[in-house]
Symmetry: none
DNA sequence: GTGGTCTAGACCACG
DNA sequence: GTGGTCTAGACCACC
């Protein structure tokens, strides 16, 4: 099983996507406090991405206090990371939904129609592999 | 009343925001087929934005067939624009909602929680003036 | 006059030194809120450093809310930056002094001796060009 | 009483911190010429650190002539070590203070303010156990 | 013109 | 082995 993969259809910077994957992994329990995240070089190879890009993602996560360096060993998930990742996840989801709702509202779309779209999406079957081919 | 204004907190390209405003205005009925959109310079001044940026937005809208030039007069909203804008709007809303739902699903968030967030956002009061003072 | 220069004798990462110089420039009034910092490429050339390194410094400063992007124009010093840079400066000075005092205390050095050293350093004449040759 | 302990908040290399502790112990009289320093393994265990790291610290201290090997016995504090440690200590303290003073000067900080900070730090109560629980 | 992203690869310090 | 820094240079989007 692959811990981290990228959404090919995501136009956001790669380093940001990687950071989000880590947050999600922590929020979902796949990574627990004290666990070491994959080494920069390994993850870079796995994602077919430059090590610098992974390093940047990890650096940002350190800046948010979600990862902590263990000198000479690697980076481990910080103590209080789970709660913060959970709330970060919630915020992220809220951000997307809010944007959709806002767009609809501003263009005076019928709320019932928005609701319908939401239901459809919630009921949509899981997209295998995120519905897109891996980059490599 | 102000036809077009910009969301200050929006990190998307300005020209794209402008184009969306126009689409929304058409979808919502504020602009009807045959109406002239504001002159580039006027709108640029109103939004405190580089005229090139407005021009680019209009150019893209022409490329989508939503605006049509009237020689010596300006740009008018095209005939079939309303339907196309409505569907474009729907697609846009769906795209945002889908992304939120997807993120939640991938990180194993409880669907009930997603639902709750959606409800909150739907019930959220309209942001007055987009929550920020005009730039000018 | 040169706005920013580097201490050659500083073993800290270059990007951090650059960020500190900017903070100092703001704290000292050389840069004021609303001013644009030098373009990445220009400053990189001036300091004989890779543009990425300058960019990283600027990026961190943005993260601290001290710089704000003006799209297509550059980076400007943020509104409340002066106070925060002043306090950042104070913290930095305190950090160095504390370390010296701590070292002395832990090794049971006579406080009078520490005091004497401090006086000498305070009275030391200004080192021209930071006492070191420019890197280039 | 514990001869050597590490400051948890110190970002300097551990081997350097260890070497400094030894120097301080010598400068302060806790270790006298002819005394044996703790065996590498013991100290490593005590500090919860890789033995290589302690070995490196000792190696550097040997290189500086502050420790001398006694075949089959261990490492002892060298003859002239006290004076050298004292002066090393002084240099170190001066270096930190100078840096603080320099930073302040370069950013045009009011000397009185620098003085005040120095006083505060001199008056600061001793940090018990270095302000952090032992790692082990 | 501006900043931002990404790649490629080298080098270093630490354990 | 680990992460961190830095360089060099390409490419992009935006204004």
């Amino acid at each position: 099983m692959i811990l981290l993969d990228l959404n090919a259809g995501d136009e956001r910077p790669i380093y940001e996507q990687i950071a989000d994957r880590v947050k999600f992994a922590v929020a979902g329990g796949a990574l627990r406090p004290g666990d070491l995240v994959p080494p920069v070089r390994d993850l870079a190879k796995q994602l077919v991405v430059n090590p610098n890009t992974v390093a940047r993602a990890y650096r940002n996560l350190q800046g948010e206090g979600l990862l902590e360096p263990v000198r000479g060993i690697g980076l481990e998930v910080a103590e209080g990371a789970v709660e913060r990742c959970r709330s970060a996840r919630g915020e992220m989801v809220r951000r997307w939904l809010r944007r959709g709702v806002e767009e609809a509202r501003q263009s005076k779309m019928d709320p019932a129609e928005v609701e319908a779209i939401f239901r459809e999406e919630m009921a949509r079957p899981v997209t295998e592999g995120n519905g897109e081919v891996r980059r490599g």
